[in-house]
Amino acid sequence: MTRTGSPLVRRVLLGVLGVVVLAAVWELYKALGPATGVMIGDLTVLPRTSDLAMPHVWDMVARLFRPVRSAGDDELMWQAVLEASFFSLGVAAVGWLVGVVVGMLLAIVMQRFRTAESALLPWIVLSQTVPLIAIAPLVKRWGSQIEIGEFSWENWMSVALIASYLAFFPVSIGALRGLESPDVNHVELMRTYSVGWWATLIRLRLPASVPYLLPALRLAAANAVIGTVVAEVSIGLRGGIGRMIVEYAAAAGGDPAKPWAPIFGAVVVGLLAAGVVALIGLALTRYRRGETPA
């Protein structure tokens, strides 16, 4: 994703410019497009341009600085959205962590035992192609069954579970490929040093897997966020950005700019999640160096 030679400042500026262009296109269509939208037969191909269907960009932004409920002195919209965003980010983070740990453990087992790889890998690859998120509405009741001593299952844990479920697949595949990536030379070198499988794992395979692991971690973070948002909707988790999106969408009739606020929140969640993974990548820079001589 990162292109070498493009400094961060430039990319950020271009990103902002891109957003401005997007907003300009929105407003342009709103100004020039037909009021009833472009229709082909019964199908609306391009949306209606009324303020109800397509609020002005500046209205969306202004809405963030007004209280949540039009009357009364609630907290401001942007504060509510930020709160919900961080709540969801936290849940997604838990899901991501669990998914990463499970994924890596699976990958290590698969690298160690060829039979385990033969048995597990096809299922893991297959599971990436099927919409497992379909079960989201069905996990809501799981929690009520589990009570171990003081610990009681909470609704957010169901959400985190779904997020972890979606996160661990790319991690296990990426980690496996990374663990198997070292050159034959390096593996044989370790053999000549008469060190066992564990030392080879720690000193060679794990460091060598970093370039494969990082994109997988990124994908897992994106999946965890999606899983969190969707599960929040299906389970109806209070405090999360997912439920806020659906709730505010219902209020769109009287307050057209309202549903857009939590969407900005969801964008922030996604970007922050990717940002954390990028930071991890930065910390692991030395493991991304290659072997080719200067």
Binding site: L14, L52, M54, R114, A134, P137, L138, L271, A273
Partner: protein
């Protein structure tokens, strides 16, 4: 590189694991008396599935159609955008941060506003969500494919005095095809997933997602899982068809491994 595992191992091991898992599942449900709203037994799911095949089929058609339309729109727009980005680098520079951001945010969050914009009684919103989700991997992978023409091939075309169009046809386009298919394979699964998730956010009934939710709401969990099974089959169908398409177009090449 590991030596390739023997054939019985490659086929037998996963099949055995699958059979074992289902058997254990059935045993656990019966032995531990797990309530159906936690996890129904595989047997009850199978029976529900076979008795409701027709409604699973109709729901699958609705969701599948949305996914297909989203896939087609997203893929076509993605390919065209990638071509434009190669020809006009300035568009690529402008859009790169946006696309990178789009690849990490939950696109489905747009579903509710799209329902408002295009009508809550129409399927358009779901198709658009699917199209957006498809656009990103197709665009990124096609772009990568168009860019990676090996220097030695480029030099060869230059030495032959080929025009830029000839070079594109002979080297760049064929070289980009495997990457396009990597993107398509990711996209086909995403299309189904997105079309399905879009249904959880509202819109008309009739698709698999809505059926799952309503079955769960009426506590018919075996039926809900039967619809889930339908969704899984739908995802598999899309994947296999894309794989078949790739084999058709490039029969000489082994299916490209994922990114």
């Amino acid at each position: 590189m590991k030596q390739s595992a023997s054939l019985p191992r490659t086929i037998l091991a996963p099949v055995l694991l699958g059979v074992l898992a289902v058997a254990l599942w059935q045993l656990a449900v019966v032995a531990l008396e797990i309530k159906p709203f936690v996890l129904p037994s595989p047997v009850s799911i199978a029976t529900e599935f076979s008795s409701s095949v027709s409604s699973v089929w109709t729901s699958s058609l609705v969701t599948g159609a949305n996914a297909l339309i989203g896939l087609l729109i997203g893929a076509i727009v993605g390919i065209i955008a990638a071509i434009i980005a190669t020809v006009l680098p300035i568009t690529d520079e402008l859009s790169a941060p946006l696309v990178a951001a789009a690849s990490v945010i939950p696109i489905v969050a747009l579903a509710p506003v799209l329902y408002t914009m295009f009508g809550a009684d129409k399927e358009t919103a779901r198709q658009l969500v699917a199209a957006l989700a498809v656009f990103i991997p197709v665009y990124l992978n096609t772009l990568r494919g168009l860019r990676q023409a090996r220097p030695v091939h480029r030099d060869l075309m230059r030495a032959y005095g080929a025009s830029s169009w000839q070079a594109t046809r002979a080297v760049t386009l064929p070289g980009a095809v495997p990457f396009l298919f990597i993107g398509l394979r990711i996209a086909s699964s995403l299309a189904v997933i997105s079309a399905l998730i879009g249904e959880y956010f509202g819109g008309p009934i009739g698709g698999l997602g809505k059926s799952i939710t309503s079955a769960a709401a009426s506590s018919n969990y075996s039926l809900a899982y039967a619809y889930v099974l339908g969704a899984i089959i739908l995802g598999l169908v899309f994947y296999v068809v894309t794989l078949g398409l790739e084999k058709l177009v490039s029969p000489h090449r082994a299916p490209s491994t994922g990114p």
